[in-house]
Each structure stands twice: as C-alpha cells, then as structure tokens.
Symmetry: C2
Subunit: 254 residues, 2 copies
Amino acid sequence: ERRIIAVANQKGGVGKTTTVINLGAALAALEEPVLVADLDPQGNCTSGLGCQSDGVTSYEVLEGLQPLAAGIRKTRFPNLELLPANANLVGAEIELASDPHRAQRLDGALRAQPTSHRWVLIDCPPSLGVLTANALAAADGVLIPIQCEYFALEGVGELMRTIERVRAAWNPGLAIDGVVLTLFDERLSLAQQVVTEVRRFFGEAVFATVVPRNVRLAEAPSFGRTIFEHDIRSRGARAYLALAEELMARRRDE
Amino acid sequence: ERRIIAVANQKGGVGKTTTVINLGAALAALEEPVLVADLDPQGNCTSGLGCQSDGVTSYEVLEGLQPLAAGIRKTRFPNLELLPANANLVGAEIELASDPHRAQRLDGALRAQPTSHRWVLIDCPPSLGVLTANALAAADGVLIPIQCEYFALEGVGELMRTIERVRAAWNPGLAIDGVVLTLFDERLSLAQQVVTEVRRFFGEAVFATVVPRNVRLAEAPSFGRTIFEHDIRSRGARAYLALAEELMARRRDE
Ligand SMILES: Nc1ncnc2c1ncn2[C@@H]1O[C@H](COP(=O)(O)OP(=O)(O)OP(=O)(O)O)[C@@H](O)[C@H]1O
Ligand SMILES: Nc1ncnc2c1ncn2[C@@H]1O[C@H](COP(=O)(O)OP(=O)(O)OP(=O)(O)O)[C@@H](O)[C@H]1O
Ligand SMILES: [Mg+2]
Ligand SMILES: [Mg+2]
C-alpha cells in the first residue's frame, strides 16, 4: 500500500526540496520504493536528482493531458522514481484558477493509477496556491520542514489554517505525519529556542531527528547527487537516514 | 525624487527580507529617507522591524480600499517608514485574478501619493504571482538577491523572463538596479563557483559587496532589530552598509 506525503511550508528556503530528495533516497536505500513528485515550477527536485524536465511532467498530469504513468521516469537510484517538473507549472496556477475542481487534479491522477510505490513524496513550492492545494488534497499526510531560525515560526499558523481548509473542502483524512526541524546551526543561540518552541507547539508530531546545517547537503545537488552518494559519512546523511527510519517506525506503529 | 526598487527572487530563503530590512536601515542611517513596502503575506519585513500588522496594510492599498498614506506608519528607526503586510494579502492573488489591471494596483497607489522618501524598497514573496507582478510594474528597478548555493541559479532565467513580460506589458522602463550575492559561506567550495558564474551572467550589474552568511543577521529579526542595532561591528552590518553606499554611488553616476 502506498502512503502519499506532501512536504510543504510556504516559507521559502527551509529545506523542503533537500528533505524530499534525501528522505526519498534514504527510504529507497532501505528498500522502500519511492515516487518523488515535483510540484514546484522551479524544478529543484528534478535537477537535484540529476534528471531532465523535458517530455511529460507534472504540468501535463495536473492539466489532465497525460496520465500519471506517462510522466513517471526512472532515476539512477534504485527504488527511486520521479515525476519531474518545469516552469510550465507556473501556467497551471492561472489556467486552473476558474475550475472549481482545480485542487483535486493530482488526487484524481494518483487514484486513477495504482503504482507499486510504498511512499510518494510531493515537493511543494514556497506558496499556498493551487499547486500546494493539489498536493494537500491528494496526500495522506503532511510533513512540515521548519528551519531553526526566527522567521521560520511566522508562517506556521497560516499553513495550519490552509491544512484545515483543505480538510474541510477536499481531504478530511489529511494527517500531520510530522514536523522536521532543519538547518539547525548550533552556533545560533536562537536555534535552540526555535526547537523548544516548535516542540511546545507540535508536541509528539516533531521528529526526534533534527537535521543540522551541513555543508555537504548544500553541495550535493550541484552534482545531481543525493547526500548518500556525495558523502555518506556526513552529519547530513546520518540525519536523513535516521529520519527515514523514524518515519517507517511511525507507520508500523499505526 | 524617489526611486522605487522591487527586491525580488522567486527562490525561497535567499535573503530578500533580510536585504530589504538591513539595506533600508543602512540607507536610513545615511540620512536617506526610506519607505519599506511589505508585499509578502508572511509579513516577515513587518515583524522583522518590530511592527504590528493590524489596521491598514498593503492589502487594503492593493485592493483600492485605502490610499497609500493611510497604510504608511513610522518605525522606531529615524528615516525609515513601513507599509506593513499580513496574511490577508493571500486573498489578493485570488480576488484580483479576474481584473485585467490587477498588476497595476500598487503603481496606481504610489503615483497617486507623492511622498518625501528617497527610496521605496518593496519586499516580494517567493513566487511570481500577482503580488510580485505589482511590485515589478510599480518599480523603477529590480534588486535581485542570489544565494551562493546550487539551487540559487536555477530560477534566475524564469525571473528574467518575468521581468521581460512586465516590461512589455506595463513598465518598459524597468531596470536591473543590481544583483546582490547573499549568504556567502566561504566553507562551501560551491559558493565561489556561484559567485563566478553569477558575475559571468550579470556582469557589471553584480554589486562588489557580497553579503556573508553571518549568524548575527539571522539573530537580529527575532528581537525586531536591524543588524545595526543588534551588532554594528558584525560582518553583516558592514556588508549592508557597504551595499547601501554602492547603491547610492550608482544612483549618483546615472
Ligand atoms: N541541512 C542543510 N544544511 C545545509 N544546507 C542546506 C540544508 N538544507 C537545505 N540546504 C540548502 O539551503 C537552500 C534551501 O534549501 P531547499 O532548496 O531544500 O529549500 P526549499 O524549502 O525547498 O526552498 P524553496 O522554498 O525555494 O522551494 C539550498 O541551497 C539547500 O542546498
Ligand atoms: N547573510 C545572512 N546570514 C545569515 N543568515 C541569513 C542571512 N540572510 C538571511 N539569513 C537568514 O536566512 C533565512 C532566510 O532569509 P530571508 O527570510 O531574508 O529570505 P527571503 O528570501 O526573504 O525568504 P522568503 O522567500 O521566505 O521570503 C532567515 O532565517 C534569515 O534570518
Ligand atoms: Mg524547494
Ligand atoms: Mg522574505
């Protein structure tokens, strides 16, 4: 059975893409088949995995021009497939604006196409528009990366309200699969305060694993590599492996 | 005379808000009156300057419910005023979607209201929707913060195409006032490559000043302080002061 997780936070640069790529790669390395769905017009997931974004992408799937299967492609990593994205997705926000079912396009495409993946990780853009709405409407759960810096807490209330709206309108079963603290920099006195405050707000939902700020994670995508290829001994690699194991354990416990 | 600058880049977390707050504060410290206009529904500029976001905000001004003057408020910093933002702005994207003149709302409000500011710095959200279109249509120039990391270069082409579209549709005189390299981390071998590549792509437009990754800059907004209040001896403070002087020199040379 497949679990669909939207990795979302409208705050920019908090590690959504880095989490989708490396959590996806960790799950794949642990023999769990993963589909990464790139729903960000910037296509950072697509390029970060070293893939091209020509041919059928998430744009054609959202617009109903192609079935999901036509867009799914293999990556060089075993157990890891990708639905790529490119800048055409910017058009979807405008083109779908008048369609009352605009937020249910991805959900329809995923329901119509059973696949053998155990996990589907959807990378969202830094906004709460129609693309993120599609991801939340299609998802079983949301994973919220929160950067351990000041502005990181500002948007969380807005994100929670959006999740409520999506539950009310399209997806009553949408769960919070977890909150992952990212870009933790121990030199920043503020970072620990953010960790404490986030744990107070979200409680048990916050993963024990905290992803440190780690230079290796910033370098890896420029080579189209996951952190495991780039530097498996790094703190970044260990953190995403631990996060994958925690996510799998939470699923077993259900 | 007033110069209106949109600080824009759809890539998230590249230092747009940090640049608007601290470049604004540096210009104000150099006796140049500044208006900061927050056009991001996250309202990070508003909270980073220690201001509230109740009452009249950029939402009411864009919707034509209130004139610009009603939204402008003093901050505790001399020569620095603010048009605040809050999450109501999310509504503007949807409410204005059917208005053919949706992108010219801010321009209209600014033209209708001469002010004594020498600079207007507009903080944009991490997207290329109607809010950023309003900023670009109203601006004399664009300042593009680019983070010295891999994904930072990915979206630049898309941003340039958007600027072209805005020039063709609404604002033929829109200039590139400059590109500022931010979050430069000398431990990251990639950072220097990004600097070289950005200088090759943008040439003279790139400011000589490169803003280093500096813990003090990340701490300042949690106290509602500018970098100059928080730690005036820091590398972050020196960088934004140098950037302000460079921007002023470019304006004199015109
Ligand atoms: N733990 C980390 N350590 C060091 N660098 C990181 C880490 N996580 C992310 N980064 C870097 O920070 C930048 C932002 O990360 P990323 O692109 O994953 O964020 P995002 O939330 O997907 O951004 P956007 O909002 O634009 O989609 C990237 O340059 C990335 O390489
Ligand atoms: N030079 C710097 N050194 C250290 N931290 C920085 C620097 N510039 C920005 N930051 C921190 O990085 C994070 C992202 O910066 P900021 O919020 O200014 O980016 P942004 O482009 O405005 O983000 P968004 O796309 O969400 O609007 C913030 O936590 C900020 O404090
Ligand atoms: Mg991303
Ligand atoms: Mg910002």
